[in-house]
């Protein structure tokens, strides 16, 4: 049986009693852990702030709390507790963020975490990761949980449509190289980018594709190595344009005096229309076919 998030967390916590599993009554990922972890499973109820403060207290005592809640509330309701109690002390609290980005599908804008990467990466010392699927997730987590820094993971447990390369901490996964332009993406959007890549290749474009895996630390070395060999970067993300991958890339390019055209697919000054996930993707122009249309416009307008 393939490794799952819950199984990996259980194995990790049983092997190392520093690990404590916490949730603000969001048990979707950890339903079976109360039985196996006993008093190292702590559900604080619908109290994201108290959960994060208590996680800081547990970390002060030497624990590594892995904390669970819906992305919007884990990041925003508890933000000051994260920034002030976890961040200032740089405590190893490990955030597992459930239904980030488009994964909140029909919940509506209250539940849309489209600024989570932006606000979490703004905390000094906080590491930010976005696995593309469950295979990528379980490949990355042992490295993420091993650090003594706080970290934020955009959890994504969908099945993989590719076999991933082994993970190296902080390094992105180069999926395809391509001289016309290179798509940079992370998390849920990788699958549709792979499908869009196929369509674009069929049309004759030479298209690169990178699964960023990490947003902080950012794999600038890979960007530098691709830059001379490709004509343009296109960032694709289910996040606000402000503060996500497009911003991170732009900051990196400016800081290093690197020059290349960059186009962005992201939510620009808007939340998305809630619905079933497939309808959301169609409505917001994030299906493979719509991605191809949008990318062709970038190329034609260049």
């Amino acid at each position: 049986m393939a490794m799952t998030y819950e199984k990996l967390l259980e194995q990790t916590a049983l092997a190392d009693d520093r690990f404590v599993v916490m949730t603000a009554e969001n048990r979707a990922l950890v339903r079976n852990l109360p039985q196996s972890l006993g008093n190292r499973f702590i559900d604080t109820g619908i109290t994201e702030q108290t959960m994060i403060g208590a996680a800081a207290g547990l970390a002060l005592r030497g624990r590594k709390p892995v904390v669970h809640a819906l992305s919007a509330f884990l990041t925003m309701r508890a933000f000051e507790f994260t920034r002030t109690s976890v961040g200032i002390a740089n405590l190893p609290v490990k955030y597992s963020s459930f239904i980030p980005g488009v994964l909140s599908d029909g919940n509506g804008p209250t539940h849309q975490a489209l600024e989570d990467v932006s606000i979490m990466r703004g905390i000094p010392g906080m590491e930010v990761f976005a696995p593309a699927d469950e295979e990528d997730l379980v490949e990355m987590l042992p490295y993420i949980w091993a650090t003594e820094n706080p970290s934020y993971v955009r959890i994504n447990t969908k099945p993989s449509i590719i076999v991933h390369k082994a993970y190296e901490f902080g390094k992105a996964e180069m999926i395809f190289e391509g001289s016309d332009f290179t798509m940079l993406t992370y998390g849920f959007m990788l699958e549709n980018c792979i499908k869009a890549h196929q369509l674009l290749s069929d049309m004759g474009y030479k298209v690169g594709l990178v699964n960023m895996r990490n947003l902080k630390p950012f794999d600038g070395d890979l960007i530098k190595s691709i830059l001379p060999k490709t004509g343009r970067f296109i960032t694709v993300e289910d996040h606000f344009l402000t503060g996500g991958l497009f911003s991170i890339l732009a900051e990196f390019l400016v800081k290093n005096d690197l020059h290349i055209p960059v186009s962005a697919i992201a939510f620009e000054e808007k939340w998305f229309s809630p619905g079933t996930l497939q309808d959301v993707l169609a409505c917001e122009g994030l299906t493979p076919e719509k991605l191809v249309e949008r990318i062709e416009k970038f190329i034609q307008n260049a």
Partner: protein, 283 residues
């Protein structure tokens, strides 16, 4: 508590106040809030907490978290008297080269955690108390809070969780000095009846005179039941300096050197100083 011990605590608290008052110049400090907490903190550190200079990092020590934050000069004064911090270090107050400023920093020996943003440390205290319970320890956790701080919703969220997890090793200590930043609590966001509120939240609650060492001794040695505890300490903001006591406009104080001299004399004589420094510098 015998008279010798009582005298020892009173003398200790007087010396702590003598360390605090000179910090209210050249930039100033939250003098009123610091003086209200001196006696209860003196009692806890001198006569109650299982902690000493050699056990500051011992996982079996008692923990005291200062959640109200801006009364940290009281901690500085106590730590100097206990020998954990050198007296000369207090002259670094507001120097960027040290960690001695308006709110606690845990680089100061004895400070368990930083605070300043109100309503943050009740939950951190809960995490520490939970871990002690998981490990089967007997040490205790104290979270000292301001009464104005109780405006913050996160405090009440934390109280709910503390009672849910039956954290009988955790005591919330309320410095009930009747003032929040600029106003009397009862004139802005009334808190009474505070005992009823805490009892309704499932906490074992006592209310005492927070300047009476005998009452502090009785309260903190009260037989505990299976609930988290609350000790509401009725105090006077600015306690020890009649010229600033119980005044909304003497919360943050930044006096001249001459005024500090007069206040140091007032502390001993009770003769009110002639204060002309600007009132109520809102921070």
């Amino acid at each position: 508590m015998n008279e010798t011990k009582l005298k020892e605590l009173e003398d200790f608290a007087l010396r702590v106040r003598q360390h605090i008052i000179p910090m209210a110049t050249q930039g100033g400090c939250f003098l009123g809030a610091s003086l209200s907490a001196v006696d209860l903190l003196t009692y806890l550190y001198v006569n109650h907490l299982q902690i000493n200079q050699s056990s500051l990092d011992d996982p079996n020590r008692d923990y005291l978290f200062l959640s109200k934050g801006h009364d940290v000069p009281a901690l500085y004064g106590i730590f100097v008297e206990l020998g954990w911090v050198k007296k000369e270090r207090l002259s670094n107050h507001l120097s960027t080269s040290d960690h001695v400023y308006w709110h606690p920093n845990r680089h100061i020996p004895g400070v368990e955690f930083h605070s300043g943003s109100l309503g943050q440390l009740p939950s951190v205290s809960i995490g520490v108390a939970m871990d002690i319970k998981i490990r089967g320890g007997n040490n205790r956790v104290y979270c000292v809070m301001g009464d104005g701080e109780l405006n913050e919703g996160s405090c009440w969220e934390a109280f709910l969780v503390a009672q849910a997890y039956k954290l009988d090793n955790l005591t919330f200590v309320i410095d009930r000095n009747q003032f929040q930043a600029n106003m009397a609590t009862e004139d802005l966001i009334p808190l009474e009846s505070l005992v009823d509120k805490f009892e309704a939240f499932g906490l074992q609650t006592q209310r005492i005179d927070g300047h009476d060492f005998k009452q502090l001794d009785t309260a903190f040695n009260q037989v505990r039941d299976a609930r988290p505890q609350v000790v509401i300490c009725d105090t006077v903001r600015g306690k020890g300096l009649p010229s600033i006591e119980a005044r909304a406009d003497r919360w943050f104080c930044n006096f001249s050197e001459k005024e500090i001299q007069e206040l140091m004399e007032e502390l001993v004589s009770g003769q009110q100083a002639n204060l002309t420094a600007e009132k109520l510098v809102v921070r």
